[in-house]
Amino acid sequence: MENDTIAAIATAMGESSIAIIRVSGTDAVTLVDHIYQGKNKLSTVATHTVHYGHIIDPTTKEKIDEVLVTVMLAPRTFTRENVVEISCHGGLVAVEQTLGLLMSTGIRLAEPGEFTKRAFLNGRIDLSQAEAVIDLIRAKTDKAAKIAIRQSEGKLSHHIRALRSEIVETLAHLAVNVDYPEYDADVLTSQYVVDRCMSIKKDIDKLLRTAKQGKILREGIATAIIGRPNVGKSSLMNALTQENKAIVTDIPGTTRDVIEEYVNVRGIPLKLLDTAGIRETEDVVEQIGVKRSEEALQNADLVLLVLNHSEALQKEDMRLIEKSKAYPTIFVINKTDLPRQIDYEEIKKYIGDRPMISLSVKAEQGLTQLEETIKTMFFSGQVDMNDQTYVSNARHIRLLEQAKASIMEVMNGIELGVPLDMAEIDMKNAWQLLGEVIGEAVAEDLIDQIFSQFCLGK
């Protein structure tokens, strides 16, 4: 656990359009070499040097990203271990893929605050900072825990739980066959276990496919489009999603749930929160629309506050502007295709130098500037999307892949004539790996399962 090699995204998903992945540990250099292609092997270069090359998927030989790699050998590094820093250019997807590849070489994802912890344990950081290190670990863990809770309520957890319960039933059955050999439970046959494995593998494959397409695991900057009714929120959302899926039917407001739409704006994933207010019918009192917008605000990383170019500022607008102060906000003045009624000076008074974009969704003017502004805000660090989300995606995929490999091991073993109770070791492994995805483990569950599933005793 102590000297193994760890990796994490070191930059807070911002600062510049470059993201840095930091790798630390005894084998950092040789392991990164597995996925790096450049003029020289990293293991042959001098310490504290920078190298240009590509990240390559070793199985498909596909180029993932163009990178600059810094090699720093122990002990003159942050952690006093061998450190490799990979600067990725190719956007967040490439970062995530690179991280995933690193993990496939056997590098472990760093725990929250682990680099700093190592720096401390290796004597790099001063003793007086110990408290700060502890605080950092605590804070990062709590943040990760929050995300984990959010995910545990999600669809993925549901699938994983179902898979795990299928595995644990089989495990319990195998355990009973072993621990109570005379008990008259049916003895599991190899064929039965293989069949189970096939079905489990199929399910994991399905999860992996969706995970890679990002349909289940995908997260993004939670973006709330707010504003009074009829300012053009829905059109803006549609323009951003570039399809009419989000709303706009002849029968508006059929659901009150917040719908999430995912869009990729210049490589930055946005999770658009469809504030139910968008769907309000015209005759609904405006108050409701405002209220819904306020609710959506609470979950937002980024706010797009839409105002109407063709109307004067109203009380409700003011109220939303006031509310938006606590959030990174872009003010969108829509409907520039219509005659101006809004007073720009007045708006300036309220929003100061926070970004403001005038556009017309209908005339398809100004959207480019909006997207550009979103990107700038993101990379300047004004919008903080939790980078843990990316990490957990890569982590999930890795764990799912490992679980699948374990299940295949079970089948291989059985095919080679290995006794079931030995093949079971791999099955247990798969069960534990899947548990790690959703933060559930361990052995006591199995014992519970044995005694609830079978009637044993003397």
């Binding site: 912890k117 502890i134 050999p181 079931l420 052995a443 014992i447 005793g457």
Partner: protein, 625 residues
């Protein structure tokens, strides 16, 4: 009035399976040892099933034997049958089980104790511990005798405030109507021990003259000679069979009709019972869709007609028990000679123990067996030998011996108890061991004989034989790795005779043996070893090579665990002063006081972040200190 009776190095209280092993270990390690028991007639008594071994438990008996324990040797001398279970499965889960002649088992064990030079046996009831400055210094008996000692091992079984329950009937009693130990239980509470109330039970016994075995399936012992102990050379050939019959709809209906008379359901039992050993009434309720349950009829010995009715553990009233028996095929006319009962007793919460089995509260006091919340003769004996060893080593000023989870089922058992505690009587299961493949019963001697020898419980002669066996295994494995087959016509023909496919390239014998259809016997035909090897050596060579891949995988996991295990938590760590720990883990850590980060990480509720924080804290203290 009390008087100073005598002074010993180690005093052991209780002569059950834990107490016998503890006393023998201490005495054999050179400590003057006193073994006190309520009754000399119940030494090594089996109040429940007449059998020793089985999955996980049989592994423990082999481990005990490798450490120099007595249980394996004793059952080898006194069984009525032995069977190897799970032979259709992998070698990791083969398990030897013996049916015991209960009386003979007791008699043999008593003789061994009596013959042990440094050991004194005495019949007496201990009512109090002698405590000086918070340290245990001996015991006081009901008769007023004060025995002084450096260390004391407490193995009270189910005697502490024992209470027998049969239907409406309840009375204070130890197992099988032995006198319970009440004052000692109260004394432990006064000392500040956190106690729990557990429950277990036993089925009725019947007279074999009154049963009809023609309606049952016979369960004979193995013909092949079997033994638990490395030292056993004489095998019992004359074996007695057990019998299998089943409950039926009539049985179930009858129990249903009388459930209102079951103390389990009328709320008269407060103790927590084990899930793996439910009473028959519990089985009928919880598994209502099962239309029959197995009943094994097992002889209690050679010199008695008494039979144990396995599967019918119950605390239903006596009349109901008799009637239930008679609904079962073959038992229609069965005479019940002993009534089944449930028994409640006090146990101490085992997280109050160090991994050495010394109590944290009272230095010098060790506990082992059912008092620590376990169930089973083997689990008790395992703790007994460890407590005895560590009590003796404390007297001798040596560090305690602690087995880890990758070394022995005994390590798993004790680590589970002192780290996680238990909320029901704890039974070992193979699924509790994460390194099951390494903890095989066939390699218990290889795993632990060195330890037993170092401790001083394995004699030179045996150790010499053991080393010779180990060397032979290593030599033969090395030979098979070196010996290569060349794919020529002659070799291919030989392979064809063995019923296996041809080889394409030069192949080592060590790899060839991995083919599922080949055994060591086949390999021997291709290339015989220079000298004749014993069965045990050939078995080891085959297992170690055949399952090498899986064994390697387990060893890698062990490596990872060991690193955390080696990180000791220093004594000065004060959990109340570690900022950043979650309150749940702070509480648990304070309670368990883990000795290593590895142990800390196994406490439920302690997460990796807490471990990281602890590491930082320790490092910080280490640098300032």
């Amino acid at each position: 009035m009390s008087y100073h009776a005598s002074t010993y190095d180690v005093v052991v209280i209780g002569a059950g399976h834990a107490g016998c092993e503890a006393a023998l270990a201490a005495a054999r390690m050179g400590c003057q040892t006193l073994l006190l028991t309520l009754s000399l007639d119940t030494i090594a008594y089996m109040p429940c099933n007449p059998s020793i071994g089985g999955p996980a438990k049989g592994h423990v008996v082999r481990e005990l034997d490798a450490l120099g324990g007595e249980m394996g040797k004793n059952i080898d001398k006194t069984h009525i049958q032995m069977r190897m279970l799970n032979t259709g499965k992998g070698p990791a889960v083969y398990a030897l089980r013996a049916q015991a002649d209960k009386v003979l088992y007791q008699r043999e064990m008593k003789k061994v104790l009596e013959e042990e030079p440094n050991l004194t046996l005495h019949q007496n009831m201990v009512e109090k511990l002698l405590i000086q400055d918070g340290v245990c210094k001996g015991v006081i008996t009901r008769t007023g005798a004060e025995y002084h000692a450096e260390t004391v091992v407490l193995t009270t079984g189910t005697y502490l405030r024992g209470k027998i329950i049969i239907g409406d009937l309840q009375y204070e009693s130890g197992p099988n109507n032995q006198q319970p130990s009440v004052n000692l239980a109260l004394h432990l509470q006064e000392l500040g021990f956190n106690m729990v109330r557990f429950k277990t039970g036993t089925p009725p016994r019947i007279n074999s003259r009154t049963i009809d075995t023609s309606k049952m399936e016979i369960q004979p012992g193995d013909e092949e000679p079997r033994a638990f102990s490395f030292e056993t050379t004489e095998y019992i050939t004359d074996q007695l069979p057990c019998w299998l019959t089943y409950t039926n709809e009539k049985t179930h209906q009858y129990i249903q009709d009388n459930l209102h008379r079951a103390p389990m359901y009328s709320g008269k039992i407060e103790g927590r019972g084990p899930r793996y050993c439910p009473s028959i009434e519990d089985k009928i309720v919880r598994f209502a869709d099962k239309n029959r349950h197995q009943i094994f009829i097992e002889p209690e010995g050679r010199e008695t007609l008494e039979m144990y009715v396995q599967g019918l553990s119950t605390s239903l009233p006596e009349d109901v028990q008799q009637d239930i028996l008679r609904t079962i095929d073959g038992l229609e006319k069965a005479e019940m000679v002993r009534t089944g009962y449930a028994i409640e007793y006090d146990a101490i919460v085992p997280t109050q123990l160090w991994p050495s089995l010394e109590t944290k509260l009272v230095p010098g006091l060790f506990t082992a067996g059912q008092i620590n919340g376990t169930s089973g003769y083997e689990e008790a004996a395992a703790q007994g030998i460890m407590a005895g060893i560590n009590a003796a080593r404390k007297v001798q000023g040596k560090e305690p011996v602690i087995l880890d989870r990758s070394e022995a089922y005994i390590g798993v058992l004790i680590d589970d108890l002192v780290t996680k505690g238990t909320n029901e009587p704890y039974r070992l299961l193979t699924s509790r061991a994460e390194y099951r493949l390494l903890l095989r019963h066939d390699n218990a001697d290889l795993r632990l004989t060195d330890k037993g020898y170092d401790i001083g419980l394995i004699k030179e002669e045996r150790y010499g034989r053991f080393v010779a066996k180990r060397d032979a295994i290593e030599k033969e494995i090395a030979r098979l790795r070196k010996t290569k087959l060349t794919p020529n016509a002659e070799v291919q023909a030989q392979l064809a005779v063995l019923g296996t496919s041809e080889i394409n390239n030069v192949m080592e014998l060590a790899n060839l043996i991995k083919r599922p259809e080949l055994s060591y016997q086949d390999i021997m035909k291709l290339s015989p070893p220079p000298e004749k090897l014993s069965e045990e050596v050939m078995e080891q060579v085959e297992i170690q090579l055949k399952y090498e891949g899986y064994i390697q995988k387990s060893l890698q996991q062990v490596e990872k665990m060991k690193r955390m295990e080696e990180k000791r938590i220093p004594h000065w760590v004060d959990y109340t002063k570690v900022s950043g720990l979650s309150s749940e883990s702070r509480e648990k850590l304070q309670q368990v006081q883990p000795v290593s980060l590895g142990q800390a990480s196994r406490i439920s509720g302690v997460n990796p972040a807490d471990i990281s924080i602890l590491m930082i804290y320790i490092e910080q203290g280490g640098r300032t200190a």
